[in-house]
Amino acid sequence: MTKKIIILLFILIPINANALIEVDITRGNLNPLPLAVSPLSIDEVSRKGFKKILKKENIGSEISNIVENNLRTSGLFNPLDKKAFLQAPDIANLKPRFEDWNLIKAQALITGKVNYVDDKLRVEFRLWDVLAAKEMMALAFTTVPNNWRRVGHIISDKVYERLTGEKGYFDTRIIYVSEEGPKTQRIKKLAIMDQDGANNKFLTLGNELVLTPRFNPASQMVTYLSYFKNLPRVYLLDIETGTQEVVGDFPGMTFAPRFSPDGKKIIMSFAKDGKSDIYTMDLENRIVERITNHPSIDTSPSYSPDGKYITFNSDRSGYQQIYVMKNDGSNVKRISFGNGLYGTPVWSPRGDLIAFTKLHKGKFYIGVMRTDGSGERLLTENYYQEAPSWSPNGRVLIFYRETKTNAKGEGFSAKLWSIDLTGYNERQINTPTDASDPSWSSLLSN
């Protein structure tokens, strides 16, 4: 469905990592770094060339807008108003007059230019430390013009990484379930969009109920639950070719699928005779393995990033709690001991934390705890919210929230939200329809 994308990347000037500006992302950032994103400069011939192909008046400004928007929504940066910029984009890219940028309190500056070369889009950009009056980074990309949004995301990732010391999460996509219609008869479709909400596409028609899509961390494959022919089963979907297949041959409902970190296995629940247990299926040799065997409900499994452990949800103690076990099902340990019920554990891609949903006294919380259950921290409280999914750098969680209906049962909605691990920067993510069950992809360019 999506074209294979090749982006050539050159490092113009090797960077010497001196002690320049740094952004600390481990704390709630109440003072985002003021930075100036100067529009990428563009010559008249290139501008007209891109206008013809992309129907955009000035592709340089469009790309800078993407960068600006990404950096702003991260909550770590405060892009300054362009109207206050004193230096023209083309000159700033050659040699910024640091006094001018200092005057408007910018601590970092992004400049660059766009060219139309041999039907290709060539973009170069530079990141400057205004106070130190130094260049921090300079990169150039050449790609097909249609990739212009991705160029904006890649620049954002590079800037984020240079300034925070950690990988970014902007050149990524979100797969989710689009919802429409009355609460009692929701029409649900698989949908995919860029992390910033652009390029939204529906992947199924809504003829059957679909739930809980999850990305393969290693490829553009998705696993999800479909009620095709009224048989709830785990499916595999290749989003590039659109081909779908049932996972395994189980005599009953399979659900709650996720990929192993290497993308080679699917882990899921299989329900039979009132019991739900956890199984894996190897996607290469199709061998099915049973991981848990207990009369309780065992569901929502999620691997640790090294693949050695599995966290899951079980009511074997009488109520929903979170457990951790080895990947062969041995050494089962309960890790949630706080008040209330716990569900949907998801292991952070960094390995150190497990995100979860907690239900306590009629409220739903999204929280995180260490993998031994210590250090529980609740990030957000609401009437109903669940199903956190990690950004690939393990710094942001995306989840969905449903509203309470009024006395007549009206006013229901479901929306995607994101929040930083710090508990700050809570944001709604705009989607064309109601939305739920989000899953964040890995970085597309790595």
Partner: protein, 164 residues
């Protein structure tokens, strides 16, 4: 002694007044109606119930997070078993549901467990497992879109549907 008796009577009169005035307000009437349709938090009303045949209700209701059959549920299922014995050509799907106050994946498992509780009971009353299919919808198909305890109690259910 006498004084306390007078006090007691006054209190009684006062409480009676309070109860009456409370009943007179709209809100209290609503709560009274709700409690009349639930025992504990299991739905006992008939608003949403349909009938497979005369005197054979199609659904049973559950307490929060539970899959235990109540006395009323067992009575309903015995009526369904008797009807199924009389109609050997009919197969059924037991659709298990949960309310919206749980995580989606756990609710799928819970719906399956509830429908299986109903299935097991039908089987002990002589209905072959070949005639019964179980299908869980979790929280996906509520009958009542309300966000209140009464709506949730109607949604925690296993519904017996003719398969053919």
């Amino acid at each position: 002694m006498k004084l306390s008796k007078i006090l007691k009577n006054t209190l009684l009169v006062l409480t009676a007044c309070l109860v009456l005035s409370a009943c007179a307000t709209k809100k209290e009437v609503a709560i009274d109606k709700i409690t009349g349709q639930m025992q504990g938090d299991v739905y006992t009303g008939t608003d949403t119930v349909e009938y497979l045949a005369d005197g054979v209700p199609d659904r049973v209701f559950f307490a929060t997070n539970e899959s235990i059959l109540t006395t009323a549920s067992r009575e309903t299922l015995r009526a369904q078993a008797a009807w199924l014995r009389k109609n050997p050509g009919i197969n059924v799907v037991l659709e298990g549901h949960a309310d919206e106050r749980g995580t989606r994946e756990y609710n799928l498992a819970l719906g399956e467990r509830r429908a299986n509780a109903a299935k097991d009971y039908l089987m002990t009353y002589g209905i072959s497992s070949d005639r019964i299919t179980v299908l869980s919808y979790g929280k996906e198909r509520p009958v009542d879109s309300g966000s209140n305890p009464l709506a949730w109690s109607k949604n925690r259910r296993s519904v017996t549907v003719k398969a053919n």
